[in-house]
């Protein structure tokens, strides 16, 4: 069970003066059950990459496939394969359109051709996942909600399609810290309960370190680093700085402490762990 890119290149507006090669010969495999963070600076090709991963963009060269089915095909099989890969866009609340939250969340399941009972169950479950109370919100207009709530409705609309792979393009952009945490908690819950793959584009090194098990670093349309976030932040610091990325603050602090002579284990993924280690070393409680 995996999505596979083989030597994929993608060119925007080929044959015009504005031609732009946004992906260059990318090969990649993402298995079900993985949690992958995609980082890279603005314009590096992250959005292009994830849209190739779910068949919204068709590679100019190379192939994108899900379990052997070409995602750019026109067959019923290809369409079904694309349906198994959900995609939450940047600012997904801008795609809401229906009169009620219920109708908007039901849009995807309805397009899948589910019957009413099944659809109803999916909508309820999806709304619960994103922490929107069904009784309170189902019949409200999505446009009367706050930004954070609208985002959750939009995410629910994708979750309701029960994808095996869920792609999120900067799911926390423009949210306050509370809503951010809530959205991430929901994504993690989804990941753990359903065992699906999550592919998340993010600008936050902290989020990548905290949630992802694997991290892809994109630069100028190529994957330059692919590995565990902890390892990359530890070993490839210079390479990351070179391409305009950074390492999380905890890693910096741990580095500084090491430089002062404190012995710390290699992987300090968050502040709590660091605190515990420091206390242990210093014999504090």
């Amino acid at each position: 069970m995996s999505i596979k890119l083989e030597h994929v290149s993608y060119v925007y507006m080929p044959g015009t003066p504005y031609e732009k090669e946004a992906l260059k010969d990318v090969s990649l495999e993402i298995r079900k059950g993985e949690f992958v963070a995609v980082i890279g600076h603005t314009g590096s090709g992250k959005s292009t990459l994830v849209q190739n991963l779910n068949g919204l963009l068709h590679p100019s060269k190379g192939t994108a496939s899900l379990d052997g089915t070409d995602l750019s095909g026109k067959t019923q099989e290809a369409k079904q394969a694309r349906g198994r890969i959900g995609m939450v866009f940047q600012y997904p609340e801008h795609q809401l359109f229906a009169e009620t939250v219920y109708e908007d969340v039901a849009f995807g399941p309805r397009n899948l051709g589910l019957d009413n009972d099944e659809m109803d169950a999916r909508v309820k479950e999806a709304m619960k996942f994103v922490g929107l109370d069904f009784e309170t919100y189902a019949q409200r207009s999505p446009f009367s909600l706050s930004g954070g709530q609208m985002r959750r409705v939009a995410i629910a609309g994708v979750v309701a399609m029960n994808p095996d792979y869920l792609i999120l393009d900067e799911p926390s952009a423009g949210l306050d810290p509370g809503s951010r945490r809530a959205v991430f908690a929901e994504i993690m819950a989804l990941y753990k309960k359903r065992g699906i793959a999550i592919i998340m584009v993010t600008h936050s090194m902290e989020d990548a370190a905290k949630y992802a098990k694997r991290m892809l670093v994109i630069n100028k349309g190529q994957i330059i680093l692919d590995g565990r976030p902890g390892e990359i932040f530890l070993k490839e610091k210079n390479r990351l700085l070179e391409v305009g990325m950074d390492i999380p603050e905890v890693y910096k602090l741990a580095d500084a402490l090491r430089a002062k002579g404190l012995r710390l284990p290699n992987e300090i993924t968050d502040a709590k762990l660091l605190l515990a280690e420091v206390k242990r070393r210093k014999g504090l409680k």
């Binding site: 919204l56 866009f89 359109f97 849009f107």
Partner: protein
């Protein structure tokens, strides 16, 4: 990048690209007059040579300019055929029942078709070599004298600029919304007109909402920067005529002179 993706602007740095937009607009009008003056084969040959010459100077690919004829190709062919079969005249070339192709008719048809093709190519050279924003600047400057008779030159130009500025943004937005709904399994192809119109709702509703939001933001942003119409407004880029512009005008008037001479002057042959 946004303001140039629209229309057909073909970026470059040729003599033609660098001309003042006012010069280009006025010269285009002059050359259109020249096209209407042509009535002899030599005249049309001169015009074709002129268009080729301008394309050469502008550095545009010839095929690109020729392609601008395509949208009206049907009308051009229709003009040619209608004139050919309906024309009057004695020199019958071909006759089938009541359909009669005369030499005079054919000549007129070819003339008309040539005229259309030349007009399309000349005006497309203008839009290929001038970005829309610069073009609006030029139009505003040319309309300014007409303010005394109540033409709101600045307001018209501002409206055009804003529209031009937002078309690519809205196109991008449309593209994104279509993708987002496609990812949710939306299907925009099948069904009759009513079904199809209904299928468009998931795209149109978000698009309108975002357009209104943008319009609102823009109005606030403009007011916050004390925009209050064209009164007393100065420009960052002043339009100035240079020696190249004088050359372009001389060239355009020379073309008119040549075509007028071919039309009304003493017959050469």
């Amino acid at each position: 990048m946004l303001d140039i993706t629209l229309g057909q602007y073909y970026p470059g740095n040729s003599f033609i690209h660098r001309l003042d937009p006012r010069t280009k607009i006025l010269s285009t009008l002059l050359l259109i007059v020249a096209v209407f003056l042509a009535n002899t084969a030599i005249g049309y040959a001169a015009l074709c040579a002129m268009v080729l010459f301008i394309i050469l100077v502008s550095g545009l690919p010839f095929m690109l300019v020729l392609k601008s004829v395509k949208p009206l190709l049907f009308i051009i062919v229709l003009t040619l055929v209608l004139h050919a079969v309906m024309g009057q005249g004695e020199h019958v070339l071909y006759q089938w029942k009541f359909i009669k192709v005369t030499e005079e008719g054919l000549q007129l048809g070819v003339q008309m078709a040539m005229r259309l093709i030349l007009l399309l190519m000349i005006s497309s050279i203008l839009t290929f070599t001038t970005s829309p924003i610069v073009l609006t600047d030029g139009i505003e400057a040319l309309l300014r004298p007409f303010r005394v008779i109540g033409v709101p030159a600045h307001e018209l130009a501002m409206m055009m600029t804003i529209a031009l500025r937002f078309i690519p943004t809205l196109m991008e937005e449309t593209d994104r919304i279509i993708k987002a709904q496609t990812a949710r399994g939306a299907d925009f192809s099948g069904g009759n007109l009513l079904v199809r119109a209904k299928n468009m709702l998931p795209i149109l509703v978000p698009l309108f909402i975002s357009a209104f939001r943008r319009a609102d933001d823009l109005a606030v942003a403009m007011e916050a920067r004390c925009y209050r119409g064209g009164e007393g407004r100065t420009r960052m880029h002043q339009l100035t005529y240079r020696s190249g512009d004088v050359m372009a005008f001389v060239f355009a008037f020379a073309m008119i002179g040549l075509l007028a001479f071919l039309r009304w002057g003493p017959k050469l042959v």
